[in-house]
C-alpha cells in the first residue's frame, strides 16, 4: 500500500472510529505563520496556513485531520556569467497537503497549558509555474504548545516539519529518493465543543 492510500485509509478510519470512541470533546481550529524551506536554493521563506479538527481518542492521544497550504518565497540566484550580473528570481512553489496528525500529550485542551508531540502523514501536491506538479505522500513531525483561556478557546504555537519525498524516473545516475523539507512556525486558535471540566 502506498503512502497516499494509507492517508486516505487513515482519514476514513478517523472519521468512522473517532465519533464512536472518545469524541465527547473535539475542536476545530485555524492556523497561520512562517514557512521555511530547508536546504533549498530555489526557494525562500514564505507563508503557511491551514485548518484542522482535533478528535481526542483518549486523554492523551488525539488525531487531527488537517489541510495545510504552504507558499514558498521566490527563489533567488546570482547569475554573474555570460554577460549577466544580477540576482534573478523564480517562483518558489506551493504545497497543498491533506493529512492526519497523531498528537501525543496534553490533547484535551482544557483550561491551562498543554504540550504535545506530533507525527503525521499526508498526501501533498507541490506546484510551480510552468513545471509539472508533483504529488506524493509526505511525513510530518513537530511539537505543539497550547494555552486554553477556558475550556472552549485556546491559543496554540507549533513547530512542524514536512518531508516531501520524490524521485526522478528520468535520472540514469541514481534511483534514490530525494526530498523537500520545510519547517513551519505557526500560531493558531482552537474552539472546543463537548464536555468541559
Amino acid at each position: 500500500m502506498n503512502l497516499r492510500n494509507a492517508v486516505v485509509l487513515l482519514l476514513f478510519v478517523v472519521l468512522v472510529v473517532a465519533p464512536q470512541a472518545d469524541a465527547y470533546r473535539f475542536s476545530v481550529g485555524a492556523f497561520g505563520g512562517l514557512n521555511i524551506p530547508v536546504a533549498q536554493e530555489d526557494a525562500e521563506s514564505g507563508t503557511a496556513y491551514g485548518i484542522k479538527a482535533r478528535l481526542p481518542l483518549t486523554g492523551f492521544i488525539a488525531v487531527e485531520p488537517n489541510y495545510t497550504y504552504l507558499k514558498n518565497g521566490d527563489g533567488e540566484v546570482l547569475v554573474d556569467v555570460n554577460g549577466w550580473d544580477e540576482t534573478m528570481t523564480n517562483e518558489g512553489g506551493t504545497f497543498n497537503s491533506f493529512g492526519v496528525d497523531l498528537l501525543i500529550g496534553s490533547v484535551l485542551g482544557y483550561q491551562g497549558f498543554g504540550a504535545y508531540g506530533i507525527v503525521g502523514l499526508s498526501t501533498a501536491k507541490f506546484e510551480r509555474n510552468g513545471l509539472p506538479s508533483n504529488s506524493n505522500g509526505s511525513y510530518w513531525l513537530g511539537l505543539g504548545f497550547e494555552y486554553a483561556f477556558n475550556d472552549q478557546i485556546s491559543l496554540e504555537m507549533r513547530g512542524k516539519a514536512i518531508i516531501f519525498p520524490y524521485d526522478d524516473s528520468t535520472n540514469p545516475f541514481s534511483s534514490d529518493k530525494g526530498s523537500r523539507k520545510n519547517g513551519l512556525l505557526t500560531v493558531g486558535v482552537n474552539y472546543y465543543f463537548g464536555f468541559t471540566q
Binding site: E41, D42, V77, V81, T89, R128, Y139, T170, N171, G178
Partner: protein, 181 residues
C-alpha cells in the same frame, strides 16, 4: 528538568533515525542546489531556418561535482537576450537532441524534443528573458530532463519565418537539482 531534556533529545534522535530507515538516509539529508551553464551565443543572419549549438555538461564543474549525487532535476529555466535585426516580427522554437547532431528540420522534429516555444520579438527590439519568465515558454519538461541527463546534447533554433536575422546572446541554462546539498 535536565533528565527530561536528555530523554526528549534521545527520543527526537530516535525519531529521525526511524525516518532515515523508512525513507532512506539520502532522502532525509538531500537538498536543492542551483546550477548555471553558459551556452554560446546564437548569431543567426541567414536565409536558412536552422541554427545549431552544442552543450557539453561534462565540462561544467558544478554538474560534474553533483551528478553522482543527483536525485532529480526539479527545475529547468534560462536567461538570454534576443535581438531582432529584421523588419518582421521574429518567432521560433528551441529544440534539443541527444549526442548526434541533426541536420534537417524534419530530423530534429523526429529525433529531438521541443523545449521552448512562443517567444516573439518585435522588429528592431531586444527582448530580455530571465529565469522566472522563462517558465512561460518551457515545454516537455520530462523529455527535456532525459536529454540533459545525457550530458552532451545539441540545441537548435528553428525560425518560423525566412529570411530572419536575430542575435541570441548571454544565454544561461539554470537548473535546480535535488541531491546532496
Amino acid at each position: 528538568m535536565t533528565k527530561r531534556f536528555v530523554l526528549f533529545t534521545l527520543k527526537s534522535a530516535l525519531a529521525v533515525l526511524a525516518l532515515m530507515v523508512i525513507m532512506g538516509a539520502n532522502c532525509v539529508t538531500s537538498g536543492n542546489v542551483v546550477i548555471i551553464e553558459e551556452i554560446e551565443d546564437f548569431v543567426a543572419q541567414t536565409s536558412s531556418t536552422l541554427t545549431t549549438e552544442n552543450v557539453n555538461l561534462t565540462e561544467n564543474e558544478d554538474w560534474q561535482d553533483q551528478k553522482e549525487d543527483i536525485n532529480s532535476i526539479d527545475d529547468i529555466g534560462f536567461a538570454c537576450r534576443i535581438t531582432n535585426n529584421a523588419a518582421a516580427t521574429a518567432a521560433g522554437q528551441l529544440w534539443i537532441s541527444k549526442a548526434k547532431q541533426q541536420t534537417t528540420i524534419e530530423a530534429i522534429k523526429t529525433n529531438g524534443v521541443l523545449v521552448l516555444d512562443g517567444i516573439t520579438v518585435e522588429p528592431g527590439q531586444t527582448r530580455e528573458i530571465k529565469w522566472g519568465e522563462s517558465h512561460d515558454f518551457i515545454k516537455n519538461f520530462d523529455a527535456t530532463k532525459e536529454v540533459i541527463f545525457a550530458e552532451n546534447f545539441w540545441v537548435y533554433f528553428i525560425a518560423s519565418e525566412v529570411p530572419f536575422n536575430i542575435t541570441v546572446e548571454d544565454i544561461v541554462l539554470i537548473m535546480s537539482i535535488n541531491g546532496k546539498p
